[in-house]
Amino acid sequence: MSDTVVIDANAPLIVVGCGNTGSPFAALIPSIPGAGPVLFVDYDSYEAKNLVSQRILPCDVGKPKAAVQARWLRRFGVRATAAFVGRIEDVPWGWLRGGILVSCVDSRGARLYMNQVAWRLGLPLVDVAVDGPDLLARVSVYLSGDDAPCLECAWHEGHYRNLAKEYHCDGSTAATAATNAPSALGALAAGLQAIEVSALLGTGLKAPAVSRQAMFDLRNQTCTVTRFTRNPACRFDHQRWDIRILDVRPEDVALGDVFAEAALSREPSALSLEHRRFTRALTCANGCGRIAIPLRLADRLTARQRLCRLCGERNIAAGFDLVDQLVLTELSAAERRRSLAQLGLRPGDVFTVSAPDRSPVHLQLACNGFAHAPWRKV
């Protein structure tokens, strides 16, 4: 299978994570022949402690990681380099289509999300990980296919147990533990990743190692290659989506019209966005009370909705106030008239309209890609 991989030359590189592995990988991009536009995604900023383990300068401390790497790459004339200062979960899927996902994150949750997005959109995923104390570096390449394995296929209960974040009662979550990897280990992982990206673009010295993992154990100076196979008990459904572009701005289309556009205006059809929920009510985390709001995505609240008007504390949608799909028959006439923008959808978002006994229809709102990516989180 690895010999038949064909990726568009100049496919955009989506580099997620600009730390121990991501920052040295950025340095290798100018030397990857055919590397197209690059989007860096990272929500974090550099700290002084990163100076010893990441490829940055003292003047970069305090600056957003994604912006620092994008600015650095522009000096080498890599065209259309952009930065998204936010989480990968916030990037509209339309920006990612046709690209290569380069995962340089140390969070299992983000890795899981990228695996699912890569599969849905049919993107290659090049994943690396390092283990500082044991001096391990590994690289794996995944590509969606009929019987191809995904990242989750190799996961077992223990992986999911470790994935469970420690939720503090104030609603915050424990930060991902730092990898504590030396910069040389990160650079090794980045080098392996650059070779695989090069191979995917057809400009490398070898075929990409799809569905394989190469693990380098530097303490014992060994290399282990593992071939993955599809796990029938995998928790992921391995559905690759056929996505149709809806050439409208979210402001210009009403929720009710979307069902007609998808030719699923029969009742009871439903609209959903993967991993996102809708809400009609919010509750102050400080106990001031519950307020009703017009129907909206729970993670795309307006600035006014985000904070309690009485105490300034965060507003949260409680579980029973959330729905993960909007069923046409349960929507009021006023809600059907609301535009997708009023629901919180943005250009590039992908949503699904489904009805019982019918194939779901996946639609993407038109967008200009990430050429105009903001330097701050949108």
């Binding site: 949750g109 899981l112 999300y113 699912q116 989750e152 999911y160 147990r161 994935l163 469970a164 420690e166 939720y167 503090h168 009662c169 104030d170 609603g171 008990a233 995998c234 928790r235 992921f236 459904d237 559905q239 959903s272 993967e274 991993h275 929920r277 509750t283 985390a285 106990g287 519950r290 949260i316 949608a317 409680a318 579980g319 029973f320 106030d321 959330l322 993960d324 799909q325 699904t352 489904s354 779901p360």
Partner: protein
């Protein structure tokens, strides 16, 4: 759109949780309509604490209701505030409860409904308390001072069934 894995997970959970409810004189579980069932209301007929909003007095309540919802992607991502909703009593007095939020601490992706029910029961009856990391700091401070009153209800959620044949004693 539920995939096969999630559907079978939800179906298995319904069976296991209803079995637990059958074996418990404390738990009453109401599944919402749906195929498969994704929403439940669990009523625990056990004593817990409430604070009178007017007088501020701490008293006991005979039962509580918790809402449980399994989103489409529950097997892959899980946020406790989304899965659990504290419904009743609204003025529950516990460090991990501030209606409608209940904070079980650690709730992993794909945690079984039965385990969730045990966690909620332990919280309501004060059999499980995290004094250090509280949603309701006042309740945590109060609880640390009144440890002698806790746990409020010591009964286990599931009790062994004992077959007892009661017969009238013969007069001797």
């Amino acid at each position: 759109m539920l995939d096969y894995q999630t559907r079978s997970f939800l179906e298995r959970n319904l069976v296991a949780a209803m079995e637990l409810a059958d074996q418990s004189d404390i738990l009453e579980l109401k599944p919402f309509a749906g195929d498969p069932v994704r929403k439940y209301i669990a009523r625990f007929h056990a004593r817990g604490l409430v604070r009178d909003p007017v007088t501020g007095e701490i008293g006991e309540a005979p039962f509580c209701d918790v809402g449980i919802w399994f989103p489409d992607d529950y097997l892959q991502r899980c946020t406790p505030f989304e899965v659990l909703t504290w419904l009743c009593p609204p003025h529950a007095w516990h460090p991990q409860i501030r209606a409608p939020f209940i904070c079980p601490g650690r709730l992993g992706e794909g945690t079984q409904l039965v385990d969730i029910l045990y966690q909620c029961y332990d919280i309501w009856t004060y059999q499980k308390v995290n004094w250090g990391d509280a949603l309701n700091h006042e309740a945590a401070a109060w609880g640390r001072r009144c440890l002698d009153r806790l746990p409020v209800d010591k009964r286990p959620l599931k009790r062994r069934r004992v077959a007892v044949n009661v017969r009238a004693a013969e007069a001797s």
